[in-house]
Point group: C3
Amino acid sequence: LLLRLAELVGVAAFAASGALVGVSKRLDLFGVCVVGFVTALGGGVMRDLLLGIHPPAAFTNPAAAATSAGVSLLIFWFHPIVRRRRREILILDAVGMGLFASSGAAIALDREAGAAATVVIGMLTAAGGAVLRDMLVNEVPLLFRRDLYAIPALVGSLLVVVLVKMRGDVDSAVVVGTVVATSTRLTAMWRGWSLPRPRNYERH
Amino acid sequence: LLLRLAELVGVAAFAASGALVGVSKRLDLFGVCVVGFVTALGGGVMRDLLLGIHPPAAFTNPAAAATSAGVSLLIFWFHPIVRRRRREILILDAVGMGLFASSGAAIALDREAGAAATVVIGMLTAAGGAVLRDMLVNEVPLLFRRDLYAIPALVGSLLVVVLVKMRGDVDSAVVVGTVVATSTRLTAMWRGWSLPRPRNYERH
Amino acid sequence: LLLRLAELVGVAAFAASGALVGVSKRLDLFGVCVVGFVTALGGGVMRDLLLGIHPPAAFTNPAAAATSAGVSLLIFWFHPIVRRRRREILILDAVGMGLFASSGAAIALDREAGAAATVVIGMLTAAGGAVLRDMLVNEVPLLFRRDLYAIPALVGSLLVVVLVKMRGDVDSAVVVGTVVATSTRLTAMWRGWSLPRPRNYERH
Protein backbone atom coordinates (compact mmCIF):
# COMPACT_ATOMS: atom_id res chain seq x y z
CA LEU A 1 0.00 0.00 0.00
CA LEU A 2 1.18 3.50 -0.80
CA LEU A 3 0.16 4.77 2.67
CA ARG A 4 2.30 2.07 4.23
CA LEU A 5 5.33 3.21 2.25
CA ALA A 6 4.63 6.86 3.08
CA GLU A 7 4.49 5.88 6.76
CA LEU A 8 7.99 4.39 6.60
CA VAL A 9 9.25 7.51 4.80
CA GLY A 10 7.78 9.59 7.61
CA VAL A 11 9.30 7.35 10.30
CA ALA A 12 12.68 7.61 8.56
CA ALA A 13 12.53 11.42 8.33
CA PHE A 14 11.43 11.77 11.96
CA ALA A 15 14.12 9.34 13.15
CA ALA A 16 16.71 11.29 11.16
CA SER A 17 15.65 14.55 12.79
CA GLY A 18 15.82 12.95 16.24
CA ALA A 19 19.14 11.22 15.66
CA LEU A 20 20.69 14.45 14.33
CA VAL A 21 19.65 16.22 17.54
CA GLY A 22 21.15 13.33 19.53
CA VAL A 23 24.41 13.61 17.62
CA SER A 24 24.55 17.36 18.11
CA LYS A 25 24.09 16.76 21.87
CA ARG A 26 27.02 14.30 21.78
CA LEU A 27 24.95 11.36 23.03
CA ASP A 28 26.40 7.87 22.70
CA LEU A 29 25.19 5.22 20.22
CA PHE A 30 22.38 4.09 22.50
CA GLY A 31 21.23 7.64 23.22
CA VAL A 32 21.15 8.54 19.52
CA CYS A 33 19.03 5.46 18.76
CA VAL A 34 16.62 6.18 21.63
CA VAL A 35 16.12 9.81 20.63
CA GLY A 36 15.60 8.68 17.02
CA PHE A 37 13.05 6.09 18.13
CA VAL A 38 11.20 8.48 20.44
CA THR A 39 11.04 11.21 17.78
CA ALA A 40 9.78 8.79 15.14
CA LEU A 41 7.33 6.79 17.23
CA GLY A 42 6.67 8.83 20.40
CA GLY A 43 3.68 10.64 18.91
CA GLY A 44 2.06 7.34 17.98
CA VAL A 45 2.77 5.92 21.44
CA MET A 46 1.06 8.94 23.04
CA ARG A 47 -1.91 8.46 20.69
CA ASP A 48 -2.23 4.80 21.65
CA LEU A 49 -1.87 5.47 25.39
CA LEU A 50 -4.64 8.08 25.18
CA LEU A 51 -6.88 5.76 23.18
CA GLY A 52 -6.17 2.66 25.27
CA ILE A 53 -4.42 0.64 22.56
CA HIS A 54 -2.13 -1.79 24.43
CA PRO A 55 0.68 -2.31 23.66
CA PRO A 56 1.09 0.73 21.37
CA ALA A 57 1.35 -0.01 17.65
CA ALA A 58 4.97 1.20 17.63
CA PHE A 59 5.87 -1.82 19.76
CA THR A 60 4.18 -4.30 17.44
CA ASN A 61 5.33 -2.82 14.15
CA PRO A 62 8.76 -4.31 13.38
CA ALA A 63 9.09 -2.43 10.07
CA ALA A 64 8.74 0.97 11.74
CA ALA A 65 11.04 0.08 14.65
CA ALA A 66 13.67 -1.34 12.27
CA THR A 67 13.48 1.73 10.02
CA SER A 68 13.92 4.00 13.04
CA ALA A 69 16.89 2.00 14.33
CA GLY A 70 18.52 1.71 10.90
CA VAL A 71 18.21 5.42 10.17
CA SER A 72 19.57 6.31 13.62
CA LEU A 73 22.63 4.10 13.05
CA LEU A 74 23.21 5.65 9.62
CA ILE A 75 23.00 9.14 11.12
CA PHE A 76 25.34 8.14 13.93
CA TRP A 77 28.08 7.23 11.46
CA PHE A 78 27.34 9.45 8.49
CA HIS A 79 25.87 12.59 10.05
CA PRO A 80 28.22 15.01 8.23
CA ILE A 81 26.86 13.80 4.88
CA VAL A 82 23.26 13.81 6.04
CA ARG A 83 23.59 17.27 7.48
CA ARG A 84 24.17 18.63 3.97
CA ARG A 85 20.83 17.12 2.94
CA ARG A 86 18.95 19.01 5.67
CA ARG A 87 16.45 20.50 3.20
CA GLU A 88 15.48 17.11 1.77
CA ILE A 89 14.98 15.79 5.31
CA LEU A 90 12.69 18.71 6.13
CA ILE A 91 10.56 17.97 3.06
CA LEU A 92 10.23 14.27 3.96
CA ASP A 93 9.54 15.30 7.55
CA ALA A 94 6.64 17.45 6.31
CA VAL A 95 5.22 14.43 4.47
CA GLY A 96 5.52 12.33 7.63
CA MET A 97 3.89 15.05 9.71
CA GLY A 98 0.93 15.29 7.34
CA LEU A 99 0.46 11.54 7.23
CA PHE A 100 0.81 11.01 10.98
CA ALA A 101 -1.70 13.77 11.76
CA SER A 102 -4.22 12.35 9.29
CA SER A 103 -3.77 8.67 10.11
CA GLY A 104 -3.71 9.51 13.84
CA ALA A 105 -7.08 11.23 13.44
CA ALA A 106 -8.42 8.25 11.47
CA ILE A 107 -7.34 5.84 14.23
CA ALA A 108 -8.91 8.05 16.91
CA LEU A 109 -12.20 8.15 14.96
CA ASP A 110 -12.05 4.39 14.63
CA ARG A 111 -11.83 4.15 18.44
CA GLU A 112 -14.90 6.41 18.66
CA ALA A 113 -13.16 9.41 20.16
CA GLY A 114 -15.22 12.62 19.85
CA ALA A 115 -14.48 15.19 17.15
CA ALA A 116 -12.50 17.60 19.37
CA ALA A 117 -10.51 14.76 20.96
CA THR A 118 -9.76 13.36 17.51
CA VAL A 119 -8.37 16.64 16.21
CA VAL A 120 -6.09 17.03 19.24
CA ILE A 121 -4.96 13.40 19.11
CA GLY A 122 -4.16 13.68 15.38
CA MET A 123 -2.04 16.77 16.03
CA LEU A 124 -0.34 15.02 18.96
CA THR A 125 0.47 11.99 16.81
CA ALA A 126 2.34 14.25 14.40
CA ALA A 127 3.93 16.71 16.82
CA GLY A 128 4.30 14.71 20.06
CA GLY A 129 7.51 12.98 19.03
CA ALA A 130 9.30 16.27 18.40
CA VAL A 131 8.20 17.58 21.81
CA LEU A 132 9.40 14.42 23.57
CA ARG A 133 12.69 14.63 21.63
CA ASP A 134 13.36 18.13 22.93
CA MET A 135 12.34 17.19 26.49
CA LEU A 136 14.77 14.24 26.41
CA VAL A 137 17.72 16.37 25.35
CA ASN A 138 16.82 19.14 27.73
CA GLU A 139 15.63 21.87 25.37
CA VAL A 140 12.47 23.97 25.34
CA PRO A 141 10.49 22.32 22.50
CA LEU A 142 11.38 23.99 19.21
CA LEU A 143 7.84 23.93 17.96
CA PHE A 144 6.65 26.00 20.94
CA ARG A 145 9.00 28.76 19.86
CA ARG A 146 9.41 28.89 16.10
CA ASP A 147 8.10 27.51 12.89
CA LEU A 148 4.61 26.56 11.88
CA TYR A 149 4.57 22.85 12.54
CA ALA A 150 1.68 21.91 14.81
CA ILE A 151 -0.84 24.16 13.04
CA PRO A 152 -0.56 22.33 9.69
CA ALA A 153 -0.93 19.08 11.64
CA LEU A 154 -4.07 20.51 13.24
CA VAL A 155 -5.40 21.45 9.80
CA GLY A 156 -4.84 17.95 8.41
CA SER A 157 -6.36 16.31 11.45
CA LEU A 158 -9.40 18.59 11.36
CA LEU A 159 -9.87 17.96 7.65
CA VAL A 160 -9.94 14.20 8.22
CA VAL A 161 -12.66 14.59 10.86
CA VAL A 162 -14.77 16.80 8.59
CA LEU A 163 -14.36 14.58 5.52
CA VAL A 164 -15.09 11.34 7.37
CA LYS A 165 -18.19 12.83 9.03
CA MET A 166 -19.38 14.17 5.66
CA ARG A 167 -18.58 11.35 3.32
CA GLY A 168 -17.49 8.38 5.34
CA ASP A 169 -14.54 7.20 3.25
CA VAL A 170 -11.54 7.09 5.59
CA ASP A 171 -8.80 6.30 3.09
CA SER A 172 -9.47 9.23 0.78
CA ALA A 173 -9.86 11.51 3.83
CA VAL A 174 -6.39 10.48 5.04
CA VAL A 175 -4.91 11.17 1.60
CA VAL A 176 -6.51 14.62 1.38
CA GLY A 177 -5.54 15.45 4.98
CA THR A 178 -1.96 14.41 4.33
CA VAL A 179 -1.65 16.44 1.13
CA VAL A 180 -3.17 19.58 2.65
CA ALA A 181 -1.18 19.39 5.90
CA THR A 182 2.08 18.71 4.05
CA SER A 183 1.58 21.52 1.56
CA THR A 184 0.58 23.94 4.34
CA ARG A 185 3.78 23.07 6.15
CA LEU A 186 5.94 23.42 3.04
CA THR A 187 4.34 26.75 2.16
CA ALA A 188 4.92 27.98 5.71
CA MET A 189 8.59 26.97 5.47
CA TRP A 190 8.91 28.59 2.03
CA ARG A 191 7.35 31.87 3.11
CA GLY A 192 8.90 31.86 6.60
CA TRP A 193 5.48 32.09 8.28
CA SER A 194 5.46 31.92 12.02
CA LEU A 195 3.10 32.58 14.90
CA PRO A 196 3.25 35.80 16.92
CA ARG A 197 5.21 35.85 20.14
CA PRO A 198 4.25 37.81 23.25
CA ARG A 199 5.03 41.53 23.19
CA ASN A 200 6.10 44.09 25.72
CA TYR A 201 7.53 41.50 28.01
CA GLU A 202 9.63 42.76 30.88
CA ARG A 203 11.35 40.39 33.29
CA HIS A 204 9.66 40.52 36.67
CA LEU B 1 -23.63 22.34 39.89
CA LEU B 2 -21.33 24.39 42.09
CA LEU B 3 -18.51 21.78 41.80
CA ARG B 4 -18.71 22.10 38.01
CA LEU B 5 -18.24 25.86 38.23
CA ALA B 6 -15.40 25.49 40.72
CA GLU B 7 -13.75 23.08 38.31
CA LEU B 8 -13.76 25.68 35.54
CA VAL B 9 -12.38 28.27 37.95
CA GLY B 10 -9.58 25.85 38.78
CA VAL B 11 -8.91 25.12 35.10
CA ALA B 12 -8.79 28.85 34.38
CA ALA B 13 -6.36 29.53 37.25
CA PHE B 14 -4.10 26.62 36.26
CA ALA B 15 -4.16 27.65 32.59
CA ALA B 16 -3.27 31.22 33.60
CA SER B 17 -0.30 29.99 35.64
CA GLY B 18 0.88 27.86 32.71
CA ALA B 19 0.36 30.55 30.07
CA LEU B 20 2.23 33.11 32.21
CA VAL B 21 5.20 30.75 32.40
CA GLY B 22 4.96 30.28 28.62
CA VAL B 23 4.95 34.04 28.08
CA SER B 24 7.92 34.53 30.39
CA LYS B 25 9.78 31.89 28.35
CA ARG B 26 8.93 33.85 25.16
CA LEU B 27 7.07 30.94 23.55
CA ASP B 28 4.90 31.68 20.52
CA LEU B 29 1.09 31.67 20.52
CA PHE B 30 0.89 27.90 20.04
CA GLY B 31 3.46 27.20 22.76
CA VAL B 32 1.66 29.44 25.26
CA CYS B 33 -1.64 27.64 24.58
CA VAL B 34 -0.05 24.19 24.89
CA VAL B 35 1.65 25.01 28.18
CA GLY B 36 -1.64 26.49 29.45
CA PHE B 37 -3.52 23.34 28.40
CA VAL B 38 -0.95 20.97 29.89
CA THR B 39 -0.83 22.84 33.19
CA ALA B 40 -4.62 22.95 33.46
CA LEU B 41 -5.43 19.45 32.29
CA GLY B 42 -2.19 17.45 32.47
CA GLY B 43 -2.82 16.25 36.02
CA GLY B 44 -6.23 14.92 35.01
CA VAL B 45 -4.75 13.23 31.94
CA MET B 46 -2.16 11.47 34.14
CA ARG B 47 -4.95 10.37 36.49
CA ASP B 48 -6.97 8.92 33.63
CA LEU B 49 -3.96 7.17 32.05
CA LEU B 50 -3.17 5.56 35.41
CA LEU B 51 -6.79 4.51 35.94
CA GLY B 52 -7.33 3.31 32.36
CA ILE B 53 -9.95 5.91 31.39
CA HIS B 54 -9.70 6.23 27.58
CA PRO B 55 -9.67 8.81 26.15
CA PRO B 56 -8.91 11.00 29.19
CA ALA B 57 -11.76 13.23 30.38
CA ALA B 58 -9.79 16.34 29.38
CA PHE B 59 -10.22 15.29 25.75
CA THR B 60 -13.96 14.85 26.04
CA ASN B 61 -14.70 17.93 28.11
CA PRO B 62 -15.16 20.83 25.68
CA ALA B 63 -15.88 23.35 28.47
CA ALA B 64 -12.56 22.71 30.20
CA ALA B 65 -10.56 22.70 26.96
CA ALA B 66 -12.26 25.90 25.78
CA THR B 67 -11.66 27.59 29.15
CA SER B 68 -8.00 26.61 29.01
CA ALA B 69 -7.59 27.88 25.43
CA GLY B 70 -9.50 31.10 26.10
CA VAL B 71 -7.51 31.94 29.22
CA SER B 72 -4.22 31.17 27.43
CA LEU B 73 -5.15 33.55 24.59
CA LEU B 74 -6.12 36.28 27.07
CA ILE B 75 -2.81 35.86 28.88
CA PHE B 76 -0.93 35.93 25.59
CA TRP B 77 -2.31 39.37 24.76
CA PHE B 78 -2.94 40.90 28.17
CA HIS B 79 -0.23 39.41 30.36
CA PRO B 80 1.01 42.73 31.74
CA ILE B 81 -2.44 43.38 33.24
CA VAL B 82 -2.81 39.83 34.53
CA ARG B 83 0.61 39.89 36.09
CA ARG B 84 -0.54 42.62 38.49
CA ARG B 85 -3.29 40.27 39.66
CA ARG B 86 -0.83 37.54 40.60
CA ARG B 87 -2.19 37.24 44.14
CA GLU B 88 -5.76 36.70 42.97
CA ILE B 89 -4.55 34.02 40.55
CA LEU B 90 -2.70 32.25 43.36
CA ILE B 91 -5.87 32.19 45.45
CA LEU B 92 -7.96 30.75 42.60
CA ASP B 93 -5.13 28.32 41.90
CA ALA B 94 -5.36 27.10 45.51
CA VAL B 95 -9.10 26.48 45.03
CA GLY B 96 -8.41 24.52 41.86
CA MET B 97 -5.68 22.50 43.57
CA GLY B 98 -7.99 21.56 46.43
CA LEU B 99 -10.81 20.59 44.10
CA PHE B 100 -8.63 18.59 41.69
CA ALA B 101 -7.00 16.66 44.53
CA SER B 102 -10.38 15.82 46.06
CA SER B 103 -12.26 15.04 42.84
CA GLY B 104 -9.25 13.08 41.55
CA ALA B 105 -9.37 10.95 44.68
CA ALA B 106 -13.13 10.48 44.27
CA ILE B 107 -12.67 9.32 40.66
CA ALA B 108 -9.91 6.91 41.70
CA LEU B 109 -12.12 5.44 44.44
CA ASP B 110 -14.91 5.09 41.89
CA ARG B 111 -12.53 3.01 39.72
CA GLU B 112 -11.80 0.85 42.77
CA ALA B 113 -8.20 1.90 43.24
CA GLY B 114 -6.82 0.99 46.68
CA ALA B 115 -6.56 3.60 49.44
CA ALA B 116 -2.83 4.32 48.99
CA ALA B 117 -3.13 4.48 45.20
CA THR B 118 -6.10 6.83 45.55
CA VAL B 119 -4.23 9.27 47.78
CA VAL B 120 -1.28 9.41 45.37
CA ILE B 121 -3.52 9.74 42.31
CA GLY B 122 -5.48 12.57 43.92
CA MET B 123 -2.26 14.44 44.69
CA LEU B 124 -1.03 13.79 41.14
CA THR B 125 -4.27 15.14 39.66
CA ALA B 126 -3.68 18.42 41.48
CA ALA B 127 0.09 18.73 41.16
CA GLY B 128 0.93 16.78 37.98
CA GLY B 129 0.06 19.64 35.63
CA ALA B 130 2.51 22.01 37.32
CA VAL B 131 5.29 19.40 37.13
CA LEU B 132 4.62 18.77 33.42
CA ARG B 133 4.55 22.56 32.84
CA ASP B 134 8.03 22.95 34.30
CA MET B 135 9.35 19.92 32.41
CA LEU B 136 8.04 21.38 29.13
CA VAL B 137 9.76 24.72 29.63
CA ASN B 138 12.94 23.12 30.86
CA GLU B 139 12.90 24.02 34.56
CA VAL B 140 13.36 21.89 37.67
CA PRO B 141 9.74 21.66 38.92
CA LEU B 142 9.03 24.56 41.26
CA LEU B 143 7.05 22.46 43.67
CA PHE B 144 10.04 20.17 44.25
CA ARG B 145 11.98 23.15 45.53
CA ARG B 146 9.75 25.67 47.24
CA ASP B 147 6.30 26.24 48.55
CA LEU B 148 3.90 23.88 50.19
CA TYR B 149 1.77 22.78 47.29
CA ALA B 150 1.67 19.02 46.99
CA ILE B 151 1.28 18.43 50.73
CA PRO B 152 -2.06 20.27 50.97
CA ALA B 153 -3.15 18.27 47.92
CA LEU B 154 -2.13 15.10 49.74
CA VAL B 155 -4.12 16.18 52.79
CA GLY B 156 -7.27 16.81 50.74
CA SER B 157 -6.93 13.57 48.86
CA LEU B 158 -6.36 11.59 52.07
CA LEU B 159 -9.36 13.24 53.71
CA VAL B 160 -11.61 12.19 50.83
CA VAL B 161 -10.48 8.58 51.20
CA VAL B 162 -11.09 8.60 54.96
CA LEU B 163 -14.49 10.31 54.72
CA VAL B 164 -15.76 8.08 51.91
CA LYS B 165 -14.62 4.93 53.73
CA MET B 166 -16.25 6.17 56.96
CA ARG B 167 -19.46 7.66 55.73
CA GLY B 168 -19.88 6.83 52.10
CA ASP B 169 -21.11 10.17 50.79
CA VAL B 170 -18.73 11.18 47.99
CA ASP B 171 -20.04 14.68 47.26
CA SER B 172 -19.71 15.98 50.79
CA ALA B 173 -16.28 14.32 51.08
CA VAL B 174 -15.13 16.20 47.98
CA VAL B 175 -16.41 19.49 49.39
CA VAL B 176 -14.67 18.95 52.75
CA GLY B 177 -11.46 17.79 51.04
CA THR B 178 -11.46 20.85 48.79
CA VAL B 179 -12.04 23.29 51.64
CA VAL B 180 -9.37 21.76 53.87
CA ALA B 181 -6.75 21.44 51.10
CA THR B 182 -7.39 24.99 49.87
CA SER B 183 -7.22 26.52 53.32
CA THR B 184 -4.07 24.55 54.17
CA ARG B 185 -2.48 25.89 50.99
CA LEU B 186 -3.58 29.48 51.67
CA THR B 187 -2.35 29.31 55.27
CA ALA B 188 0.99 27.94 54.07
CA MET B 189 1.29 30.83 51.60
CA TRP B 190 0.27 33.35 54.27
CA ARG B 191 2.74 32.07 56.82
CA GLY B 192 5.49 31.29 54.31
CA TRP B 193 5.65 27.64 55.39
CA SER B 194 7.96 25.41 53.43
CA LEU B 195 9.55 22.00 53.69
CA PRO B 196 13.12 21.51 54.84
CA ARG B 197 15.89 21.22 52.28
CA PRO B 198 18.96 19.01 52.61
CA ARG B 199 21.73 20.36 54.81
CA ASN B 200 25.49 20.21 54.81
CA TYR B 201 25.62 19.54 51.15
CA GLU B 202 29.03 19.78 49.53
CA ARG B 203 29.50 19.31 45.78
CA HIS B 204 31.27 16.05 45.09
CA LEU C 1 10.14 -15.55 47.92
CA LEU C 2 13.71 -14.65 47.08
CA LEU C 3 12.64 -12.70 43.96
CA ARG C 4 10.36 -10.59 46.14
CA LEU C 5 13.24 -9.68 48.44
CA ALA C 6 15.51 -8.94 45.48
CA GLU C 7 12.80 -6.64 44.13
CA LEU C 8 12.80 -4.59 47.33
CA VAL C 9 16.61 -4.43 47.25
CA GLY C 10 16.36 -3.10 43.69
CA VAL C 11 13.68 -0.57 44.66
CA ALA C 12 15.84 0.59 47.56
CA ALA C 13 18.94 0.99 45.37
CA PHE C 14 17.01 2.85 42.65
CA ALA C 15 15.32 5.11 45.21
CA ALA C 16 18.72 5.85 46.76
CA SER C 17 20.14 6.82 43.39
CA GLY C 18 17.14 9.07 42.72
CA ALA C 19 17.13 10.67 46.16
CA LEU C 20 20.87 11.38 45.96
CA VAL C 21 20.31 13.22 42.67
CA GLY C 22 17.45 15.12 44.32
CA VAL C 23 19.69 16.11 47.24
CA SER C 24 22.49 17.20 44.91
CA LYS C 25 19.92 19.41 43.11
CA ARG C 26 18.93 20.93 46.48
CA LEU C 27 15.29 19.86 46.21
CA ASP C 28 13.15 20.02 49.33
CA LEU C 29 11.93 16.98 51.30
CA PHE C 30 8.96 16.44 48.99
CA GLY C 31 11.05 16.79 45.84
CA VAL C 32 13.65 14.30 47.09
CA CYS C 33 10.92 11.75 47.87
CA VAL C 34 9.24 12.22 44.47
CA VAL C 35 12.48 11.82 42.55
CA GLY C 36 13.28 8.73 44.65
CA PHE C 37 9.83 7.28 43.94
CA VAL C 38 9.97 8.05 40.22
CA THR C 39 13.46 6.56 39.85
CA ALA C 40 12.49 3.41 41.72
CA LEU C 41 9.06 2.83 40.28
CA GLY C 42 8.82 4.95 37.10
CA GLY C 43 10.08 2.16 34.85
CA GLY C 44 7.43 -0.19 36.17
CA VAL C 45 4.74 2.46 35.73
CA MET C 46 5.78 2.95 32.08
CA ARG C 47 5.65 -0.83 31.59
CA ASP C 48 2.14 -1.04 33.04
CA LEU C 49 0.86 1.95 31.04
CA LEU C 50 2.17 0.36 27.83
CA LEU C 51 0.64 -3.01 28.71
CA GLY C 52 -2.67 -1.60 29.92
CA ILE C 53 -2.33 -2.65 33.57
CA HIS C 54 -4.51 -0.19 35.54
CA PRO C 55 -3.63 1.12 38.03
CA PRO C 56 0.10 0.33 37.69
CA ALA C 57 1.51 -2.21 40.11
CA ALA C 58 3.64 0.49 41.78
CA PHE C 59 0.42 2.06 43.07
CA THR C 60 -0.90 -1.17 44.53
CA ASN C 61 2.33 -2.42 46.05
CA PRO C 62 2.62 -0.87 49.53
CA ALA C 63 5.95 -2.60 50.29
CA ALA C 64 7.67 -1.08 47.26
CA ALA C 65 6.20 2.39 47.83
CA ALA C 66 7.12 2.29 51.54
CA THR C 67 10.66 1.12 50.75
CA SER C 68 11.06 3.93 48.24
CA ALA C 69 9.75 6.55 50.68
CA GLY C 70 11.80 5.22 53.60
CA VAL C 71 15.03 5.15 51.62
CA SER C 72 14.39 8.66 50.27
CA LEU C 73 13.90 9.99 53.81
CA LEU C 74 17.08 8.25 55.01
CA ILE C 75 19.01 9.78 52.10
CA PHE C 76 17.53 13.18 52.81
CA TRP C 77 18.92 13.18 56.35
CA PHE C 78 22.00 10.99 56.07
CA HIS C 79 23.24 11.62 52.52
CA PRO C 80 26.83 12.39 53.56
CA ILE C 81 27.17 8.90 55.04
CA VAL C 82 25.45 7.22 52.11
CA ARG C 83 27.56 9.07 49.62
CA ARG C 84 30.64 7.26 50.93
CA ARG C 85 28.90 3.96 50.13
CA ARG C 86 28.43 4.89 46.48
CA ARG C 87 30.07 1.71 45.22
CA GLU C 88 27.81 -0.54 47.25
CA ILE C 89 24.76 1.34 45.94
CA LEU C 90 25.96 0.86 42.36
CA ILE C 91 26.25 -2.89 42.92
CA LEU C 92 22.74 -3.15 44.40
CA ASP C 93 21.51 -0.93 41.58
CA ALA C 94 22.92 -3.41 39.06
CA VAL C 95 21.01 -6.21 40.80
CA GLY C 96 17.81 -4.17 40.62
CA MET C 97 18.41 -3.36 36.96
CA GLY C 98 18.86 -7.02 36.08
CA LEU C 99 15.78 -8.09 38.00
CA PHE C 100 13.53 -5.31 36.68
CA ALA C 101 14.55 -6.01 33.08
CA SER C 102 13.90 -9.73 33.49
CA SER C 103 10.67 -9.49 35.48
CA GLY C 104 9.44 -6.69 33.20
CA ALA C 105 9.96 -8.99 30.22
CA ALA C 106 8.17 -11.83 32.04
CA ILE C 107 5.17 -9.58 32.77
CA ALA C 108 5.04 -8.40 29.15
CA LEU C 109 5.10 -12.01 27.92
CA ASP C 110 2.32 -12.81 30.36
CA ARG C 111 0.25 -10.04 28.75
CA GLU C 112 0.95 -11.60 25.35
CA ALA C 113 3.13 -8.81 24.00
CA GLY C 114 5.18 -9.90 20.96
CA ALA C 115 8.86 -10.82 21.29
CA ALA C 116 10.26 -7.47 20.09
CA ALA C 117 7.81 -5.47 22.22
CA THR C 118 8.71 -7.63 25.22
CA VAL C 119 12.44 -6.99 24.88
CA VAL C 120 11.91 -3.22 24.64
CA ILE C 121 9.44 -3.17 27.55
CA GLY C 122 11.84 -5.18 29.73
CA MET C 123 14.63 -2.71 29.01
CA LEU C 124 12.28 0.20 29.67
CA THR C 125 11.22 -1.28 33.02
CA ALA C 126 14.86 -1.28 34.12
CA ALA C 127 16.07 1.96 32.55
CA GLY C 128 12.93 4.12 32.32
CA GLY C 129 13.10 5.30 35.93
CA ALA C 130 16.61 6.69 35.49
CA VAL C 131 15.56 8.55 32.33
CA LEU C 132 12.52 10.06 34.08
CA ARG C 133 14.71 11.01 37.04
CA ASP C 134 17.05 13.00 34.82
CA MET C 135 14.16 14.62 32.94
CA LEU C 136 12.61 15.72 36.26
CA VAL C 137 15.80 17.39 37.48
CA ASN C 138 16.50 18.92 34.10
CA GLU C 139 19.51 16.94 32.93
CA VAL C 140 20.19 15.12 29.67
CA PRO C 141 19.72 11.47 30.75
CA LEU C 142 23.00 10.06 31.99
CA LEU C 143 22.49 6.72 30.34
CA PHE C 144 22.23 8.36 26.91
CA ARG C 145 25.74 9.70 27.37
CA ARG C 146 27.87 7.39 29.44
CA ASP C 147 28.03 3.98 30.96
CA LEU C 148 26.69 0.70 29.74
CA TYR C 149 23.37 0.48 31.50
CA ALA C 150 20.55 -0.11 29.06
CA ILE C 151 22.45 -2.67 26.99
CA PRO C 152 22.81 -5.16 29.89
CA ALA C 153 19.10 -4.61 30.55
CA LEU C 154 18.40 -5.41 26.90
CA VAL C 155 20.50 -8.57 27.19
CA GLY C 156 18.60 -9.77 30.27
CA SER C 157 15.26 -8.99 28.73
CA LEU C 158 16.15 -10.76 25.47
CA LEU C 159 17.40 -13.79 27.37
CA VAL C 160 14.10 -14.10 29.21
CA VAL C 161 12.18 -14.06 25.92
CA VAL C 162 14.44 -16.72 24.40
CA LEU C 163 14.39 -18.98 27.46
CA VAL C 164 10.63 -18.77 27.95
CA LYS C 165 9.98 -19.47 24.26
CA MET C 166 12.39 -22.42 24.38
CA ARG C 167 11.59 -24.02 27.69
CA GLY C 168 8.54 -22.38 29.12
CA ASP C 169 9.62 -22.01 32.74
CA VAL C 170 9.26 -18.33 33.60
CA ASP C 171 10.80 -18.32 37.08
CA SER C 172 14.11 -19.86 36.08
CA ALA C 173 14.23 -17.60 33.00
CA VAL C 174 13.89 -14.55 35.25
CA VAL C 175 16.68 -15.81 37.52
CA VAL C 176 19.03 -16.46 34.59
CA GLY C 177 18.15 -13.11 32.96
CA THR C 178 18.80 -11.27 36.22
CA VAL C 179 22.14 -12.95 36.83
CA VAL C 180 23.40 -12.38 33.27
CA ALA C 181 22.21 -8.75 33.07
CA THR C 182 23.66 -7.93 36.48
CA SER C 183 27.02 -9.50 35.76
CA THR C 184 27.21 -7.84 32.34
CA ARG C 185 26.59 -4.51 34.02
CA LEU C 186 29.15 -5.13 36.77
CA THR C 187 31.76 -6.27 34.24
CA ALA C 188 31.09 -3.15 32.15
CA MET C 189 31.58 -0.97 35.24
CA TRP C 190 34.73 -2.85 36.22
CA ARG C 191 36.29 -2.61 32.78
CA GLY C 192 34.99 0.89 32.06
CA TRP C 193 33.22 -0.25 28.88
CA SER C 194 31.15 2.33 27.11
CA LEU C 195 29.45 2.84 23.77
CA PRO C 196 31.02 4.93 21.02
CA ARG C 197 30.04 8.55 20.67
CA PRO C 198 29.69 10.41 17.38
CA ARG C 199 32.93 11.56 15.78
CA ASN C 200 34.01 14.52 13.71
CA TYR C 201 31.25 16.65 15.05
CA GLU C 202 31.43 20.34 14.24
CA ARG C 203 28.82 22.80 15.48
CA HIS C 204 26.68 23.99 12.58
